[in-house]
Symmetry: C2
Subunit: 432 residues, 2 copies
């Protein structure tokens, strides 16, 4: 007997028939003796419909009012889901973010959960009811309705699970779990039984869209095991949990991910003085734009040039020029907002050139095992080279290697790397 | 300079163009130096759409969950209205029932407002913003969302006006104001400049659907002048205010109203012992059904009969039989629920006959002036007689005379009475 949080996304509750299938999953868990709390998102296209309504009435981008508006999407879902559960014989009670005191900061549209008052949820569970909690929304200290931004309902589910000390947080999605690569890109990808929090976070930030980064991060912080499952099909799904449990598999690479729609900003020939990076990135952070990778290299003095786009190439025996190149990537839609900010920063710096690129993708190999196994990066570069994929930039972390490539090469690159690390369903035994 | 509450109903905010016209009315009031708070209903068919969604997912009639669901309708309206106001250059902030602490009892679907915390609304006004408050909804002590039932948004508007001590509560509707009779029934009906609270309440309860009874009642209790206006047209509307101001007009009858869809329950031959009425009406009240008129007469002993449907006719010199007849009316849709309750009561009473009627209407003349002017009832009966309308039941109050007639005669009866009291727009001078 345990406490389980089950989260159903927008497509899982899009109509009455689907909601009934969700309710059956809740009923079965209860039948098996578990206490169940449910978190739901807005149904199907509700959020888009609401945004359209807002666009009709004015071009105001008032984030407080948008949150007030958007939060109705989840409120509709929780009431309907409670009605469905009751119709299926499961006593239930719907709770808005405000009603179960999901306190957030007041950053409308991308608020962060600070605390959840578990008392209300616990008392409903104790009374034998299923609390149905609105995902994606919270309430600021002044009583304003806030929303958590993309993937917010996953975050709500994990936060609720943490608050009530649940044994597992089940995220029902439209996929069977986490694969070694996106099966739409690599058809022979294999479903993983488990994946570590860190691996999942790297995969999520590298383009695996199954779960949102913040939810996994919160899962790791609070130690809540997260299970990703298909909402309309049977199957064990994938358990996201502590790395240690996966070590036995000895795999160097767990997943390969492809991120497209990358915007790249290259700043060349910058005077590398203390505070340079702050000048560039503070305005971008203040605008609330997420920067993905940041790569900095020192330019070399040879031939009086500050280094072109190929600055990452090594020129042996040429001393640093005192200048540097900074490259960073953002989501392509953010480029329009980023460009004037960077132009202004460049003016303040007084020296340097700006180049903005689109049409790029990023292939990443993620695996906690690569920490202890040499040659992973080399194997990845070899795979890409053999596939004829040119590598524009490289970044690495403890458990990840990312290569920025031409967008047209993205899929080919992903498949080559996926095959190189024997991740396919037909691979009998991991080699490295 | 004053404080004005403006309430816009569902049809007034049904689309962006209409919302802009509402915003223009707010802007003009502000331009004239007034502080304005706004109350809005759910847009157009939103409430019906939500009820349909609920019907799709289950046949549960869980009133708490229905309230949770329905309240989203007004929440969508307030957010959109705030966005429209901002787009039109008027600073605004939307507030749910919970955010401005509209505390109600926990009678879901027909909750009553207990208190409103005016502090939030006042502070928004003081900051130069227009608070846009969700009508129809409130919050129970345990944090549950409640709805006020039919006409709830009018009640919210008047309650907000009372809480912030507003100078006037303007109810924007799809009519130009209060007429001497419904212009669709009596085309020569005249727009009233003012009407008394009591007159308006009688008119509302007698079938004039412009404003809900509870809102007028609350206006009277709190002394808030209520102005009924057209949301899409210009005009002074009708001011609902203290009776005294209207006395000068010397009119006996202010409005004539027609109520259709009446269900009549006749109980004949009941032993008139203490507690009889309680036995009949307690279960009906407990079921939350509103009883309209109650008429009781003592039956006469003549011919050993307890009195048929004609019991109201006088039989001089026949002593009371110790039996009585009780007639009451309810809305026709409530009859199905009322009938078994009354049957059970009749069993408990042990004696009596039950007859249920539909196909009836009620013509009422309402006027505070009739208190001081004799002959009003007689003039009304004369008008109905001359029009060939048979009167089935009669009830009167201090300021109202109602006649129940065949539904087919309703419109004819209304027109005859309207004419008899010289209420038409062409009447040069009131005669009585």
């Amino acid at each position: 007997m345990g406490v389980i949080v089950q989260k159903f996304g927008g497509s899982s509750v899009a109509d009455a028939a689907r909601m009934k299938r969700c309710a059956a999953k809740v009923a079965r868990m209860r039948h098996d003796g578990h206490e169940v709390a449910v978190v739901v998102s807005a149904r199907g296209d509700t959020t888009d419909d609401l945004l359209e309504l807002a666009a009709e009435v004015g071009d105001s981008l008032d984030k407080r009012e948008l949150d007030q508006l958007l939060a109705t999407g989840e409120q509709i879902s929780i009431a309907l889901m409670a009605l469905v559960l009751k119709a299926e014989g499961v006593d239930a009670v719907s709770l808005t973010g405000s009603q179960c005191a999901i306190r957030t900061d007041s950053a409308h549209g991308r608020a962060r959960i600070q605390t959840i008052d578990a008392a209300r949820i616990r008392s409903e569970l104790a009374a034998g009811r299923v609390p149905v909690v609105a995902g994606f929304q919270g309430v600021a200290e002044n009583g304003d309705v806030t929303t958590l931004g993309r993937g917010g309902s996953d975050t709500t589910a994990v936060a609720v699970a943490a608050a009530i000390d649940a044994d597992e947080c089940q995220i029902f999605t439209d996929v069977d779990g986490i694969y070694t690569a996106d099966p739409r890109l690599a058809p022979d990808a294999r479903l993983l039984e488990t994946i570590g929090y860190d691996e999942m976070m790297e995969a999520a930030s590298q383009g695996a869209k199954v779960m949102h980064l913040r939810a996994v991060e919160l899962g790791k912080k609070s130690g809540v095991p997260i299970r990703v499952l298909h909402s309309q099909r049977e199957g064990p799904g994938t358990l996201i949990t502590d790395e240690a449990r996966n070590m036995e598999t000895q795999r160097a690479v767990t997943t390969v991910a492809l991120k497209t729609d990358i915007g790249r900003v290259t700043l060349a020939g910058l005077p590398n003085k203390p505070g340079l990076q702050r000048t560039i990135f503070a305005p971008i952070a203040a605008a609330g734009i997420s920067v993905d990778d940041i790569i900095q290299t020192e330019a070399l003095g040879a031939q009086g040039r500050e280094g072109g786009p190929d600055f990452a190439q090594s020129h042996a025996d040429t001393p640093p020029s005192g200048l540097c190149n900074v490259v960073f990537t953002v989501d392509k839609p953010d480029l329009a907002e980023v460009r004037p900010l960077v132009e202004r920063s460049l003016e303040a710096i007084g020296h340097g050139r700006l180049h903005v690129d689109i049409g790029l993708a990023k292939v990443s190999a993620v695996g906690v095992g690569m920490q202890s196994q040499p040659g992973v990066a080399s194997a990845m570069f070899k795979a890409l080279a053999e596939a004829g994929v040119r590598i524009a930039n490289i970044t690495t972390s403890e458990i990840k290697i990312s290569c920025i490539v031409d967008e047209a090469d993205g899929k080919k690159g992903l498949r080559a790397v996926h095959e190189a690390f024997d991740l396919s369903a037909t691979a009998s035994e991991p080699r490295r």
